[in-house]
């Protein structure tokens, strides 16, 4: 059974790139347009989350805190995929419970290598 990865981004084109990259590699993908939407969709098993930082309704940091508060998703790897590259933002993400950080734009190989490492 394939692993399920959730992609959270307010940009439809980024969601599309993430989703198609992961689906091409055999993963199942759940898409959400912001943190709030993602929390609502976080009802079943998810093996990894790829989330943007700056999003309307609920940003990536708050979303991660909410996810980590759920026992079921406490240890699910969460990778931030964002244009943000400042060290203090990364620290905030890490403190909130992020597992990794990818600065946009990503190349498919990079995302797949990260997924492979975190999901093995």
């Amino acid at each position: 059974m394939s692993k399920t990865i959730m992609t959270v981004d307010d940009s439809a084109s980024v969601r599309q790139m993430v989703s198609l990259t992961l689906k091409d590699a055999g993963y199942s993908v759940i898409e959400a347009c912001d943190g709030k939407d993602a929390l609502a969709k976080l009802t079943g098993p998810v093996d990894m989350i790829v989330t943007d930082l700056n999003m309307p309704n609920m940003d990536g940091i708050e979303f991660i805190r909410n996810v980590r508060a759920k026992a079921q998703y406490k240890f699910v790897p969460i990778v931030m995929l964002t244009t943000e590259s400042q060290a203090d933002k990364k620290e905030q993400g890490k403190a909130a419970g992020a597992t990794g950080w990818i600065v946009k734009p990503f190349k498919p190989d990079q995302l797949l290598a990260v997924a492979k490492k975190l999901l093995r």
């Binding site: 981004d9 940009s11 439809a12 084109s13 980024v14 599309q16 790139m17 198609l20 990259t21 091409d24 930082l53 700056n54 240890f75 790897p77 990778v79 964002t82 244009t83 943000e84 590259s85 400042q86 060290a87 933002k89 990364k90 890490k94 992020a98 597992t99 990794g100 950080w101 990818i102 600065v103 946009k104 734009p105 990503f106 190349k107 498919p108 190989d109 990079q110 290598a113 990260v114 490492k117 975190l118 093995r120």
Partner: protein
């Protein structure tokens, strides 16, 4: 003095008002300029992943081919064909009739010896005749007392006739034997000559064909290495293409940040109290406008470059694919036209098989000749058997003659001499028949050996086995060849489809020109507004708002924005933040942005938990992974 340094309130007011009036017209345009292109990018994304999927299939097919023609099944099959050919040559050589030729030449020599031995019976018969006549004369001379000697003369005569008769028959069969051997020898000599030529020519052609096959395999192996390399380049280019698509989101965010700060500027102008700090606001608005123009220019450049790189990378994929297609056409077996090397090898093997069957038929023919010789020898032996007892018979006659001579007394003394001569003949007869028997035995033994040699050289069954093995390996090779041909055809087809898809896509992309033009217009609009502040430069410089600018600097999400900010407004606007950008600078997402994240950089979860243990246990043995500079795992 105070009038000279006071803010030019009345003059700056209209400039700010103009900003407040113009910005609402700019803001919706800013809002939509990139965002409205999302559908274009989504369409691009869908098409790109269709192309990516094709490229991946291209790559996996090339990889599969590489393992097949490299050191895989094709190489093994060619090696097997070469081994079978070497085996066939060894078998072919083993059926050589050289030994038979030598044997038959030896038989010829023995037959000549036999003829000579038979010729030595002639004086013996002649002597018998003389003795017969002498006996008759002596019998007549003795008159009545010698009448018994007539019977003796008759016996001698009969014996001579028997020898005559048998030697004649042996002579006839000896000639027959000689003819059989001579004829077989002649055929064998011709066969050996043809066979040696066949061995030389056919196997040379066959090995040459196999060598050609191996050359083609190595050419194909080189091709698939190129294909695999080319497909890796395609995959790499696709990575750039997919990264380019994300610049819609990146530039959208940058333009949104421009929109936000300009909206804030408009709002603050509108909210300026009568006694508010117009100079301070003017200074801040001017700096904001001064900053937004290059930010828009940068967004325009990033967007345009991203789309241009998108097109360029796709076209590079198309060019690369076309180049690989040309390489395929140059090497592919199936595209060469005319008879394939495998067909030639199959024909050459059929010729070898025919030659082996001919040789085998010849060996069977020799076997029949040997059987015929055996029959002739058997007949000759029966004739020899008929004269084998001549010596004993002569001896009996001699004994009879001596007895009769003794009875006759002195008158029969002459007959005693005759009896002695007859006795001598018996010894000679025994010697002659012994010689003939010995020669015939030697011929018979040699014929048996040649017959056995012929039987053991009958490779009819072996030829069948060899042919079966050849057929099996040729069928396997043909199957691999067909598979390779199909893969190459599939690759060519995929390549052609990829090129068409890419050309169609790249030819249809023009929206970036419109976006670029719109962003340039917006930049002009911002610059125009900023120019309104030019007459107030010194006053506004004195009233700058570093804290607000610093706050703005902290709001950027991208290093590219921060770089523009610092380049335009300098570090003085955000002295405390300057340290954010050390000597290493900020690298955008070019090819050099790859950074290794070793295991020390990877922290998975703060608290130990059951699931973590095995992963961490194995972590120390893992090699460092290179995700790229823009990736970090905590």
């Amino acid at each position: 003095m105070s009038n000279e340094t006071a803010p030019p309130r009345n003059d700056l007011g209209p400039v700010l008002k103009e900003c407040a009036r113009s910005l609402p017209a700019l803001l919706p345009r800013l809002s939509s300029v990139i965002k409205d292109r999302e559908d274009d990018f989504l369409r691009l994304g869908t098409t790109v992943f269709g192309i990516n999927s094709q490229a991946n299939t291209f790559s996996s097919t090339a990889t599969k081919m590489a393992s097949s023609v490299g050191e895989g099944a094709l190489q093994a099959a060619i090696a097997e064909l070469e081994k079978h050919t070497a085996d066939a040559r060894a078998v072919f050589s083993s059926v050589s009739a050289t030994e038979q030729l030598q044997g038959m030449t030896e038989v010829q020599g023995l037959i000549r010896t036999l003829d000579q031995a038979m010729a030595r019976f002639t004086p013996l018969v002649r002597t018998l005749k003389v003795l017969e006549i002498t006996t008759r004369i002596e019998s007549a001379r003795l008159g009545a007392s010698g009448s018994g000697f007539t019977t003796l003369a008759d016996d001698v005569k009969a014996l001579g006739n028997v020898i005559d008769e048998h030697t004649a028959k042996i002579g006839e069969h000896s000639t027959l034997l000689m003819n059989q051997v001579a004829s077989s020898l002649d055929r064998s000599r011709k066969q050996i000559s043809v066979q040696e030529k066949n061995v030389r020519d056919m196997f040379a052609q066959l090995f040459s064909g196999i060598a050609e096959l191996e050359t083609m395999r190595t050419d194909s192996a080189a091709l698939v290495v190129d294909l695999a390399k080319g497909s890796r380049q395609v995959t790499e280019s696709m990575g750039h293409v997919i990264a380019s698509v994300q610049f819609h989101d990146i530039t959208r965010q940058q333009v949104e940040h421009v929109e936000e700060i300009l909206a804030q500027a408009e709002s603050e102008i509108r909210g300026l109290a009568e006694d508010g700090d117009m100079a301070g606001l003017g200074a801040w608005v001017r700096d904001v406008l001064r900053l937004q123009a290059p930010l828009l220019r940068q967004a325009e450049e990033m967007f345009r470059q991203a789309v241009e790189e998108f097109i360029s990378n796709l076209e590079s994929i198309a060019d690369n694919t076309r180049g690989l297609g040309d390489r395929i056409a140059a090497v592919a077996y199936s595209d060469q036209g005319g008879p394939s090397v495998l067909d030639s090898i199959r024909r050459q093997i059929a010729q070898v098989m025919d030659a082996m069957r001919t040789s085998s038929a010849h060996v069977a023919d020799m076997s029949r000749t040997m059987s015929g010789m055996a029959e002739t020898i058997s007949t000759v032996s029966s004739f020899v058997h008929g004269i084998e007892d001549i010596g004993a018979e002569i001896e009996l006659i001699a004994l009879n003659a001596r007895v009769k001579a003794a009875h006759t007394g002195d008158l029969g003394r002459t007959l005693g001499v005759i009896a002695m001569e007859i006795q001598n003949l018996s010894v000679e007869a025994r010697t002659r028949t012994g010689e003939v028997a010995t020669i015939l035995n030697r011929i018979s033994t040699l014929a048996d050996r040649l017959s056995e040699l012929a039987r053991s050289s009958d490779v009819t069954e072996l030829v069948g086995g060899i042919q079966d093995r050849f057929e099996a390996v040729l069928d396997h090779l043909a199957s691999l060849d067909a598979e390779l041909g199909r893969d190459i055809g599939h690759l060519s087809g995929l390549g052609r489809e990829l090129i068409v898809q890419i050309r169609t896509l790249t030819a249809s992309i023009h929206f970036h020109e419109a976006v670029s033009s719109q962003l340039q217009e917006l930049e002009k609009g911002v610059l125009e507004l900023e120019r309104g502040f030019t007459p107030f430069g010194p006053e506004l410089d004195a009233a700058r708002q570093p804290e607000k600018l610093k706050e703005q600097l902290s709001r950027y999400t991208m290093d590219s924005e921060r770089l523009v900010h610092l380049a335009v407004l300098g570090h003085h606007a955000a002295d405390d933040d300057a340290e954010l950008f050390g000597d290493d600078g900020v690298e955008l997402f070019g090819d050099d942005n790859v950074e290794l994240f070793g295991d020390d950089n990877v922290e998975l979860f703060d608290a130990p938990e059951p699931e973590k243990a095995p992963r961490e246990a194995g972590k120390t043995a893992e090699p460092e992974e290179d995700f790229g500079d823009n990736v970090e795992l905590f």
